[in-house]
């Protein structure tokens, strides 16, 4: 019997250790797994490396994790926010390191980590400071740079719906990096506000097959949200 549901966010993030490398889904606030991050702040793990697109907005979620001093390094494409100075302050103070990666290269590095491809060549960033010091090679007269796969210990993502196998669907542009991160982390933890019975998700429309997901956490909904047509016996 496969049942990946966890009782609450705290239980799902309990074993994340100091020094872990963490992927965090979301583009801005769309798809940000806020409740999982809040649980991680409470849990206390520090010295984290965080792979994500932005560096937090406002004062909750990732911004709060950074403000709490838990993040030693960020790997991201756009750590600038109109509504948050948290990352900028720590970065200027030298308390947080930054590896800046072009957004498409970041996405592909994560995807290849999940796909067992250790490195790939891309034309992106050739001739810029972000390609300096990396191996280059020409293909069909086009100069390219070698980029390496980027995996993580844990991925925290947000889905629109899940089943007990960990199959996931997403909501609109909240999908963004989540399906990639799910494949690239040793342990993938998905929060969702809807858990449906096995067989309720259309097999043609599942975006993340359950094989990539280890833990499913239902957020802020009561057990009656479970699809009655499914085979579920109720929420854990």
């Amino acid at each position: 019997m496969i049942d990946k549901r966890f009782a609450d966010p705290s239980a799902a993030v309990r074993d994340i250790g100091d020094g872990a490398t963490l992927m965090v889904g979301g583009f801005g606030e769309a798809g940000s797994p806020v409740e999982l991050i809040d649980a991680l702040i409470e849990q206390g793990a520090g010295d984290l490396t965080v792979i994500t697109n932005n560096a937090g907005s406002g004062t909750t979620g990732l911004a709060a994790l950074i403000k709490a001093g838990r993040v030693a390094k960020m790997i991201c494409s756009y750590p600038r926010s109109a509504d948050s100075e948290v990352f900028a302050e720590q970065y200027r103070a030298g308390r947080i390191r930054l590896e800046l990666v072009p957004q498409g290269t970041l996405a592909e590095r994560i995807r290849t980590a999940g796909a067992g491809i250790p490195a790939f060549y891309t034309p992106t960033a050739v001739g810029t400071s972000l390609a300096q010091g990396k191996p280059h090679r020409r293909f069909d007269d086009r100069e390219c740079v070698l980029e390496h796969a980027l995996g993580a210990d844990v991925a925290l993502i947000k889905a629109a719906a899940a089943d007990r196998h960990g199959n996931l669907v997403y909501s609109k542009t909240a999908r963004n990096f989540a399906p990639l991160m799910a494949t690239a982390a040793e342990t993938t933890i998905a929060q969702t506000s809807v858990v449906v019975g096995l067989g309720s998700l259309d097999p043609e429309a599942v975006v993340t097959p359950g094989i990539f997901v280890d833990r499913v956490v239902l957020i802020g909904r009561s057990p009656q949200r479970l699809d009655p047509s499914g085979s579920e016996t109720g929420w854990l």
Binding site: G28, R80, R92, L98, Q103, P123, T124, G127, T128, K172
Partner: protein, 239 residues
């Protein structure tokens, strides 16, 4: 040399200029900031498909107030809608469209554009600034035609069109065309070439505000107007 200050176009008029040159059926990515204005300037009789790199093809206009969805945003993190025929996808698929050369046009802002097409638009290189690149390097390396939409000069009056960029580059030799408040300028193997001037603007006005040699490639000497659909035919396709 004249010392008068030409009026030039406002932001919306530049956007209309760009919109006029986007052909029916094109797949287009509009960068954050000024280029976002272009969407609302595309003529009703054209079907142009807008791509936003955070995972949506077929981006529609902003929703009416009160109907914003925090999970339906564009790359600038502004609320948008999905047009009929839209599709959602993850970031690797989105950048496969970009890097793989499937988009016809992207329109980006700029700090500087060099006469050889080098673009600087992501960092001033200032010591304490937080660097942030987003998808700009992917867009310039992958999209078939890279257009820049920008004021011709900085607020301090410094030319943005230069012989060589001083700021960190986004890409080398990547820009195809620049739309400013003063002119439409093409990047050619010979350098910058003026295709068109804004109403009331002279070639001398532009040359004076450009820190690189300018060629004159206007197909007619008449000044054209951004409202017209009178783009010379050799410019109506995608380069």
């Amino acid at each position: 040399m004249t010392t008068r200050t030409p009026q030039g176009l406002d932001r919306r008029e530049i956007a209309r200029w760009v919109a006029r040159d986007i052909p029916d059926g094109a797949y287009v990515n509009l960068g954050i900031g000024m280029p976002e204005t272009i969407a609302e300037c595309i003529a009703e009789d054209k079907e142009v498909i807008l791509h936003t790199e955070n995972g949506l093809l077929g981006m529609g206009p902003p929703p009416p107030p009160g109907e914003e969805d925090t999970e339906l945003i564009n790359a600038g993190k502004q609320p948008v809608t999905a047009a009929p025929g839209a599709s959602f996808f993850h970031h690797a698929d989105s950048f496969a469209m970009i890097r793989g050369g499937h988009l016809d046009i992207c329109v980006l802002g700029a700090l500087e554009v060099a006469a050889n097409g080098d673009l600087a638009n992501w960092s001033t290189g200032a010591a304490h600034a937080v660097p942030a690149v987003g998808g700009a390097m992917d867009l310039v390396s992958g999209v078939k035609a890279v257009y820049v939409m920008t004021r011709h000069c900085t607020r301090a009056g410094e030319p943005k069109l230069v012989n060589e960029c001083r700021y960190p580059l986004t890409g080398r030799g990547v820009v195809d065309r620049v739309y400013t408040d003063l002119a439409v300028i093409e990047i050619t193997p010979q350098g910058l070439a003026v295709l068109e001037l804004a109403p009331g603007v002279t070639l001398a006005d532009v040359a004076e505000r450009t820190a690189a040699p300018l060629h004159d490639k206007r197909s007619t000497r008449r000044e054209s107007h951004p409202d017209g659909n009178s783009a010379p035919s050799e410019r109506s396709g995608i380069p």
